[in-house]
Symmetry: D2
């Protein structure tokens, strides 16, 4: 069943396999009159690119975004905004040796069982490539938020077991080690929303926190979500978790992470997204064929060893999509608002 749309009023629908001709998306429900800052979108797309040496102009052009509807003279028309990005350098043969094999911890097996089909990319839509369309949709969402002074900013919280802010050296060493070993690393991305107005979130099921959790947990490789003090709050007494009032209705602490009873309270919203290391290793792994026979296969694709730096803008994008949607949803909260 259809599962490729997110949002109720500001709705992003995405499409494209890593081996189809294009990936892309349609944003339905973008208000008219929004200045579409293409440079900003382009910068967001660049932030998602692999941050490695030898990064060249040629490579850059691979992710050329074309907006093909809904915008005229740089302004949104109120009609659906569609965009496409060509998949260049598709090397279906790269995966030919995998065509009848299921890799461990990949989508190959589940996609095959669900749909009864082996696509050339193995896992159908299960690919980091797909997150590019999230970044573009999220970019448009950020342009809406900017109009209301709302800011979404993510950062790397940790890579492997090392906190990013304090342990850059150790992380560098770890990254060298995994390149050497053909291994991979995950980590945690944190994200803050500043200047979020009070009142966003629709109890009881479409709480702002619930929709943020869904958006984050829809990102490939995500395994955990926290808001405010998260799991740490489970070990404290209630008296330690109270966010006491200042006279201006801000709170002295922000254990709750900016959301009370599913509705934003005007404080900074902060969340964490935990990602496992990716499963595509540069070493022999044990694959299985449709008859249950096991094979030792060397990976020859092109994958990140640690995608956490690139995940920051993806996390921001998903957060922005949710906040933009709830911002619009909240326009109907009161009669004669």
């Amino acid at each position: 069943m259809a599962g490729n749309s997110i949002g109720k009023l500001f709705k992003l629908t995405t499409f494209g396999e890593s081996h189809s001709d294009f990936v892309g998306g349609v944003i339905d429900g973008c208000p008219s009159g929004l200045k579409i800052d293409l440079d900003f979108i382009e910068k967001e797309v660049q932030r998602r690119k692999p941050q490695q040496e030898g990064y060249s102009t040629q490579r850059k052009e691979e992710d050329k975004v074309e907006f093909i509807s809904g915008i005229e003279n740089g302004i949104s028309l109120g009609t659906p905004i569609a965009f496409i990005i060509q998949n260049k350098n598709i090397k279906k043969q790269d995966y030919n040796h995998l065509k009848d094999l299921f890799r461990p911890s990949h989508g190959d097996f589940t996609y095959y069982n669900k749909y009864g089909i082996s696509s050339s990319s193995g896992g159908g839509r299960a690919s980091a490539r797909e997150t590019l369309t999230r970044v573009i949709g999220g970019g448009i969402a950020k342009l809406i938020l900017r109009e209301y002074g709302i800011e979404v900013s993510g950062e790397i919280h940790s890579i492997g077991k090392w906190e990013y802010a304090r342990n850059r050296e150790e992380i560098e060493k770890e990254l060298e080690k995994i390149v050497e070993n053909g291994d991979s690393l995950g980590g945690i991305v944190s994200c803050r929303i500043k200047n979020c107005p009070i009142g966003l979130g629709e109890p009881v099921f479409d709480k702002l926190s619930a929709d943020l959790a869904k958006a984050i947990m829809s990102i490939p490789a995500s395994k955990g979500f926290e808001i405010g003090d998260g799991f740490a709050s489970t070990t404290k007494y209630g008296s330690e978790q109270l966010d006491n009032w200042n006279n201006d209705f801000t709170t002295k602490t922000n254990h709750c992470g900016g959301i009370q009873a599913g509705i934003s309270n005007g404080m900074e919203i902060n969340i964490k997204a935990g990602f496992k290391p990716i499963a595509s290793l540069y070493r022999k792994v044990e694959c299985i064929d449709k008859e249950g026979e096991l094979y030792n296969i060397e990976n020859s694709g092109r994958h990140d060893r640690c995608f956490i730096p690139r995940a920051v803008v993806v996390v921001e994008a998903m957060v922005a999509l949710v906040i933009a949607d709830h911002l619009l949803r909240n326009f109907t909260n009161k009669i004669n608002r």
Copy 2:
């Protein structure tokens, strides 16, 4: 905007404030021909009750569930199943002294700002009472799952900083301590889904893991969600997180928690839900009025000190709602299935 429904094919809509005449719900999309085991629903409702001494029949009758449509001769008709539960012993005056005050870390303030109204219950729908309707809807979902051999079982993982399985004594002491101090404790509930068929989940946004996260994070006081190894997986190497194959397509480990690329893989699904301690303490807390004046107020309501034991069945209910919905959604995955 409407936010009181969950599910696409198996859809639960709930209603009722803690101070309205009734709470209740409507299940739309329940297949016809389902045997509605009312004893089972009643047992689920009992599991959500406060597990304290002096628990009496009179109290029991307070949560009498009436199914008022969609069922005939104990069988679902395929039409909407509506149910209501009267709110007895509503003591609006209990809260009268709070009517113009916002409690710290409660929904009073956010509801008031969102809707411009102070309801007698303060936080509108923000109340543990609301979870009763989740348990009933989830009970019907479990009856569907039972037909397909799928089992959902939750348990207490930890209370405060103590693991439940190993530290009962310490937990008992902690609970005594918070009663003494008028304080509260949170904890973690874990939940496993056994015999889930391969193929549930609709990439890329309606992944099974994403919809589980949303469902869990919509429960009052939830602050964190994990699937499989969760945040712990962020500290491991990819080679440590691979779930290697057995010849029968099960895996030797289950780091992923039964979901690959957003789709169930046939292994046991396991999740964790982290809850902060509730904010209603039995001691003086600092409230604020609409002018920003602070007041020290003693709480006189009736609240749990630690709702984790009661939360188990609520977590299970939310999980069951998601799995039942995705089970139905997956009926349309292939042509000529």
Copy 3:
């Protein structure tokens, strides 16, 4: 699959068979702060009642509406508004002789085949009783519209082949005749929406005209829908159908019926709804059992001979639900509105 909700932002979900204990509904998405005029709702409910002699107080109480959530002190809270109406005088035995028979032109057969169940009411939700919940939901919608000065007013356009405004006498005779013959009559209800603001309707699929058509065609026994000149416009030249401008942006004619390109243009919206005569006759009709055997059966239920007078308020209700929903939807059309 779930099909008992209508509306995206102002959403009505209804439940109840004609033989269940209650019929009722839940309105999710009603803005907070709306004065709920219960007398008005009661009057709407009365307008739907059979307008026959011997109409008594006792009968009146049968449709007592209870609002059980979402309202406090006569004001909407922004939370779901649920309502229930008890089904009194259910006489399941009235239909016992029909239990294993399918009546001609009734929902018995289709419901049985779809759901595999014979409910005691035969056609499950297929009953005039169900329209009561539409009238209540529509009544709340009208209260919203009233705040914006929008008025919905329906009237009988024709009964049988007679235009209502000009042929009352003939219609009286016809009605006497069908009572005599145990027959029934249909007709056409027209409805106008005054003071509808410009801009309601969401192209291309959720056009205001499209959503009105769906709402009307969801009413039992509806067989046709027209907007503006309707089918008559198909026989005219384009030059005859142009609605030429006045200087104030109103138009000299209103062939289009107040909607251009799916969006309201500020002129009066007018539609027509055509209803077939109901199929429950007071004479012998040929029923069929599950083995395909035919039986001549005398009807003993209680049905209208001509429900057109009662359909007026039902048509208005459906129209009001659509307009209220689109009014709210249009709050998000422009950036910085």
Copy 4:
């Protein structure tokens, strides 16, 4: 708000203005394993083309459909099927003289008021061009229906006041006359669905008849919808409208048009769609500017004089979209189906 999607399980989202670079769409929810017969889709697209002399290959290439995702080796993957069609020969200057004018009976005025923007095409999405994407989406829907033996076939019922089957000569004369006069003509398209299984349709709001009405009334220029005997049934006695049984559960007549209580009954479904003549005339018409000044303007665009022949495949497409969606929806009707 988002209004460019139709369908719940088989969902088509379309995009593109008549003056954007592309029009296109995304089909989410197409089951996997469907053979995508591109020749069939191409033929459907051809059926929508202007059927005039001088129709050339060059023109033909203008509507070249590119499927850019969701299909591999001619088989649907179960992932979103996206398609795009370039808008060639866009002549924005054609409309330059209209840029600040609102034409009578066009979407210019309503779009401008709703969105606050004048796009170069005047009415944003309000253009016959948009229906191309409906035909492609409907084409994929027909391929699904074909797998289940369901057939959708439309035909011209009337043009102007002439029945098509009997009055070809008169219609030819009429068409010559409107070319001469720069006028236009509408008409009625009928459509039949053969071999529709019993049980499609989801009461009470998502009745099959209601969803068909919405789909038809979302087509540009549609002004009326009928099912079965339609408005004619309003003038008959109930005894004349009964569809009496044959022993095999078919009915001797089909006044209801194949749907009882909103659910298909296995008989042929038949509907009618009434279209007004298009408002773009080849003669001087009175336009209005934003200050309310009137101007006599000669039209210089390229428009059909009578689009009824082309509308047949558009009507079929909308019907097919609805039936495919309800076919999938009905897969979840019973437990252990």
